[in-house]
Amino acid sequence: MKVRVDPERCQGHTLCWMTAPKSFQLDEVDGHSSAVSEDVPADQEEDVREAAHSCPERAIQIF
């Protein structure tokens, strides 16, 4: 499973980071999110799916 945050859609709501703190990191200056790694470790898949489902901007792509 791979994950990506669309930087054009992310507005810095931070819900992904609250849901899956190991898989998403927030920019220190604007709080926008990016994936820690495009490849999602097996034990993080459920949290990452939940994070994608929680994103108000629907900015998280799982592929």
Binding site: L15, Q25, D27, E28, G31, S34, P56
Partner: protein, 453 residues
């Protein structure tokens, strides 16, 4: 709600919708679900005529269509005369642009870029010890009495003091800004108290202007310093525009977090089993509970927009110049996205609520709001675990047209012991910390984060 006949085919879904009436607050759930089932985008003739978006999908698609929507409040009639985010345009606000929330890119983006380093999660995390100390002092003032008004004695004070600290305004001045920030929202335009409230608001504007001048003369860190140094469209904006930005920061920072905290504390008093569960399981439940209170009580229930070009969005045709109300609060109750939407579920998953707005205008203070809310609520759970709100003395805002707020929320609890100095003394100590440690400096991106991107 009655459907009326209209001769414009685009406006075939006509309703009578007036969110400024007490009925809208009392019948919010019925009105919301009727709109969502019949016409998630409807036309209403109230307040000069405007569209109302209540469905989650519709609000989402509209809010993200920045190319067809404008937030511009063209106060001086220099552009297209658009009226900003408030429907109807209130008389006194018509004189001033509401900061960057009533601007479009690129100026709006430039402002946010200037202020983000003060308001990001990393920036806000630095303020937690400060917030905890203000909360401690507020609770200490009442802990021996066994009585508190959660609005007057806690939820009004903490967001106000923190907002001023972040701006670079002396903490003791919170009382200057507190009453106008709340009263200008909850006082109906026809109230006999309105002239006094308008005077308070004018005085607040003058105080903000003076704070701006003072920080220009003798710089100290904070949001105001960022603004006086900001380049917006290549130049530093006039003071009049900056005062509008400062008023936006006050309005966004004060009344909204107060409203959220008061509603959550009231609900937890009415649901003591859930309150005990939240306290016990806070390490796993506090984040989801916070988002759920945000979804359910949406402090800022919606925003206005102006259609900036003829377009079709979510199956509805719009014409340039038409006004539109995006209801974050109603979108949050759409059963197609939120199962059992009218129930508070502290562990709710997939809670993609829109209480901080959606798209480029997402509340810039959302990280401040969450932090202050969580520190206030957990401190109450720790120090007043058996509190009971007094329904007789509770005063909600009469309408939720602008903010879903509360004026008073008295409660009783088993008295406890003070833990530290008084609020006045605490604010003096914290003021020295702000000055000496320059707490309101912006964050700087570290090398690690640069390489990570």
């Amino acid at each position: 709600m009655s459907e009326a006949n209209g001769n414009d085919d685009r406006k075939k879904h006509r309703v009578h919708f007036d969110r400024h009436t007490p009925e809208y607050r009392h019948e919010f759930e019925e009105i919301t679900h009727e709109l969502q089932a019949k016409c998630p985008i409807a036309w209403t003739d109230t307040h000069g005529g405007h569209w109302v978006a209540s469905g989650n999908r519709e609000v989402f698609e509209l809010a993200r269509s920045a190319e067809f929507l404008s937030n511009d409040h063209d106060v001086k009639g220099e552009r297209r005369g658009y009226k900003g985010i408030t429907i109807p345009t209130p008389p006194r606000a018509a004189e001033a642009q509401g900061g960057f929330l009533e601007m479009d890119p690129p100026a709006q983006r430039h402002y946010r870029q200037a202020l983000n380093p003060y308001l990001s999660p990393a920036a806000v995390a630095r303020w937690v010890p400060f917030v905890d100390e203000v909360v401690r002092a507020c609770l200490d003032e009442k802990i021996e009495e066994g009585r508190i008004d959660f609005v007057d004695d806690l939820a009004n004070i903490v967001p106000a003091v923190l907002t001023l600290a972040m701006m670079g305004i002396p903490l003791k001045d919170w009382t200057v800004y507190n009453e106008p920030a709340h009263a200008s929202v909850y006082t109906p335009p026809d109230s006999p108290d309105m002239p006094r409230v308008a005077e308070l608001s004018r005085n607040m504007g003058i105080s903000l202007y003076m704070a701006l001048q003072e920080i220009r003369r003798s710089p100290r860190p904070g949001l105001i310093d960022a603004l006086v140094r900001a380049e917006i469209d290549g130049e530093n904006p006039p003071d009049e525009e900056l005062v509008g930005v400062l008023a936006l920061l006050i309005g966004g920072g004060f009344d909204t977090t107060t409203a959220l905290t008061a509603h959550a504390l009231e609900w937890l008093s009415q649901n003591p089993t859930e309150r005990d569960r939240l306290s016990r399981e806070r390490s796993t439940l506090l984040d989801s509970a916070t988002e759920e209170f945000l979804r359910f009580y949406a402090p800022a229930p919606g925003d206005g927009r102006t259609i900036s070009a003829d377009c079709e969005i979510a199956g509805q045709r719009f014409e340039e110049g038409e006004r539109l109300w995006l209801s974050w609060a109603m979108a949050n109750r759409d059963p197609s996205v939120f199962p059992d939407p009218d129930r508070v579920d502290l562990a709710r998953k997939g809670n993609r609520h829109s209480s901080f707005g959606l798209g480029i205008h997402r509340c810039i203070g959302s990280n401040v709001a969450r932090t202050v809310f969580k520190r206030m609520v957990t401190a109450v759970l720790d120090r007043m675990p058996d509190y009971r709100c007094d329904a007789e003395g509770t005063v909600h805002y009469e309408t939720i047209g602008i903010i879903q707020g509360m004026r008073h929320l008295p409660a009783t609890f088993t008295p406890g012991e003070r833990l530290g100095p008084s609020l006045d003394e605490t604010l003096q100590t914290l003021q020295r910390a702000c000055d000496e440690q320059r707490l309101a400096e912006p964050v700087v991106r570290t090398a690690r984060a640069d390489t990570a991107r």
